[in-house]
């Protein structure tokens, strides 16, 4: 069994959408980034508009009000669920059926932010998000939204080995994935560790050099020579 938070959502077509909910750690970092950005903008607004006297202060108050409550709503709608902070951390908000977030849910989850913040530092939100499998804070529960990781773009793999070797029949998709993951991560492993890991499969694949054999199987899987 894989130890991760990935969940499948079944669509009307019977396809299973893999979605990975984001926990409060990465969301807190995104939130800190957003707060810093907002703080920067607020400072600039007040410096510039205070030159305009009382009228400027009035405008600045309106703008900071909009910034405080509607900054996340604006970006979540306009940027497909990503505020600048979330984009930076590679996460985004979606409706919990996997569709892009819409105005109502976005406004709702961001208004309820004040409750999730209570009594301090998003304690309510953190406790709530630890009580369900999608890491939903109260705002997400009410709005029917969730924060997920963006799927990383599929990189063009390269395993530094030439040649192909057929994958033995009977390897399930997950087992194939493990082979591929091994080949992809081998750059970060020492040669000794590589052969130590690859040798585990020796009884199944009967190769002369299991490390090279697995990489060649990986080549087969991604269709490289």
């Amino acid at each position: 069994m894989l130890l991760d938070t990935r969940q499948s959502l079944e669509t009307p077509e019977g396809a299973l959408l893999p979605l990975t909910p984001a926990g409060f750690g990465v969301r807190a970092l995104a939130q800190i980034l957003d707060i810093l950005i907002r703080f920067g903008i607020t400072t600039v607004i007040f410096i510039v508009l205070s030159l305009l006297g009382r009228m400027g202060i009035g405008l600045a108050l309106i703008l900071t009000f909009l910034l405080e409550w509607f900054y996340p709503v604006f970006f979540e709608i306009a940027r497909n669920g990503r505020t600048p902070g979330k984009k930076w951390m590679g996460i985004r908000v979606v409706n919990d059926d996997g569709t892009p977030i819409t105005f109502g849910p976005s406004l709702l989850r961001n208004l309820l932010r004040v409750v999730d913040f209570l009594p301090m530092a998003y304690l309510t939100g953190i406790v709530a998000s630890l009580c369900n499998r999608q890491f939903k804070r109260l705002g997400d529960l009410a709005a029917g939204s969730m924060v997920i990781y963006d799927a990383p773009p599929l990189a063009e793999p390269s395993f530094a080995v030439r040649g192909q070797l057929p994958v033995p029949a009977g390897f399930s998709t997950d087992e194939q994935r493990a082979l591929l993951a091994f080949a992809e991560r081998s750059n970060y492993l020492s040669a000794e560790r590589q052969s130590e890991l690859a040798t585990i499969l020796q009884p199944v694949i009967h190769a002369k050099d299991p490390v090279i054999a697995i990489k060649q199987m990986a080549n087969t899987m991604v269709g490289k020579q």
Binding site: T11, E13, G14, A15, L17, P18, G53, R54, M55, I57, G58, L59, A60, L61, I62, T64, F65, E68, W69, I77, N95, D97, G98, T99, P100, T102, F103, G104, P105, L107, L108, L111, L112, R113, V114, V115, N132, L138, L141, A142, A143, G144, A151, L154, P157, V167, F171, S172, T173, D174, Q176, R177, L180, T220, M221, V222, G223
Partner: protein, 334 residues
């Protein structure tokens, strides 16, 4: 079928679909004519390929690639329409007042929670003036006295217009912030909304009572009567929306608490849309009309009465004739 054959045979199909998805993902990207018509069926075939590839244990690379396309296609196909601006007018004319009437039980409770404590403390302070200090601090009391002291008003001098803009900004950020908090804290089983409603009611009643004792009635009531129509009603509605969240958690009925909260929120947030609009209007009246000292008090009372009639009439009657309003669909707390 071997994976190689499978890919060779069907790759052109999913490549076309990938191009369409990339086009749709661009902001403002659109498909037209045949392309648009065939998108859904292409997407369904893609789902089929994905399922086949998984079932036949084709390489994980292929399965993941198709899976990624399925996710992106799903995002495009099931993108919900966002007719927010198109529906704006119909929401104002009919949707919002209908919703308020449909949720009348919550509205009445919120109204009672705001006004009853307010009236009680108003009467109490007329009888025991010192009780005002149980609600507010002496500093606040003296600042209110200063604000509404007729002696501080130079008759015939309107405020500078830039001061009006400053106060407009202040009313917007303060009042809408208060109503957002009144709404949001309702998710704490209603407790937060009740607190904010009662607290604001007490504060209002105490200040009114104190200023009545100080004989500043005319300046005070002529100031608040105009924008109060929109502002107080909006606070009641946002409190009602909050109470709805709390009640959905307390008494979920036949569904789970989370599901019940979700359904109640979808309705409550629409009340908040209306509240925002009402509070912007209120802030506008407060900054540019209520503060105007050139106007005689009777003019302000007259317009204030008209505005109250407008708000109540709007909420009670607007949108009734259009395509027959159904009787209240849902019962609130009784």
């Amino acid at each position: 079928m071997k994976q190689g054959q499978f890919e060779q045979l069907y790759q052109p199909l999913w490549q076309v679909l990938e191009m369409q998805i990339v086009e749709l993902e661009k902001s403002g990207g659109q498909l037209t004519g045949d392309e648009l018509a065939s998108f859904a069926s292409r997407y369904r075939r893609l789902c089929h390929f994905h399922a086949l590839a998984r079932d036949r244990h084709y390489s994980s690379h292929l399965v993941d690639k198709l899976g990624d396309l399925v996710v992106r296609g799903h995002q495009q196909l099931y993108r919900r329409k966002q007719p927010f601006f198109q529906q704006f007018i119909s929401f104002i004319v009919a949707g919002f007042p209908r919703l308020v009437r449909e949720q009348h039980a919550y509205i009445w409770w919120a109204t009672a929670l705001l006004y009853v404590p307010g009236l009680l403390i108003y009467v109490t302070i007329l009888w025991q003036p010192d009780l005002v200090y149980t609600v507010t601090s002496p500093d606040q009391v003296s600042s209110f006295e200063e604000m509404y002291d007729p002696a501080n008003r130079t008759l015939g001098a309107a405020r500078e217009s830039d001061t009006n803009v400053q106060m407009f900004g202040y009313y917007i950020s303060n009042n809408i912030g208060v109503s957002f908090r009144t709404f949001a804290s309702g998710i704490l089983f209603g407790v937060g909304s009740i607190f904010f409603l009662v607290f604001n009611g007490l504060l209002m009643g105490a200040v009114a009572g104190h200023l009545t004792n100080a004989q500043f009635t005319e300046t005070f009531f002529s100031f608040v009567v105009g924008h109060g129509s929109f502002e107080l009603t909006a606070i009641c509605i946002s409190g009602a929306a909050g109470l709805k969240l709390g009640y959905a958690l307390l008494a979920p009925g036949n569904v789970t608490r989370v599901e019940s909260l979700k359904r109640a929120s979808a309705i409550a947030i629409k009340l908040v849309y209306g509240v925002i609009i009402m509070l912007v209007i209120a802030a506008f009246i407060e900054a540019f009309w209520s503060s105007n000292n050139i106007l005689m008090p009777w003019q302000k009372y007259l317009v204030g009465g008209f505005l109250w009639a407008l708000v109540i009439g709007y909420l009670v009657f607007s949108g009734r004739q259009l395509r027959g309003e159904t009787a209240s669909v849902e019962r609130g707390p009784v």
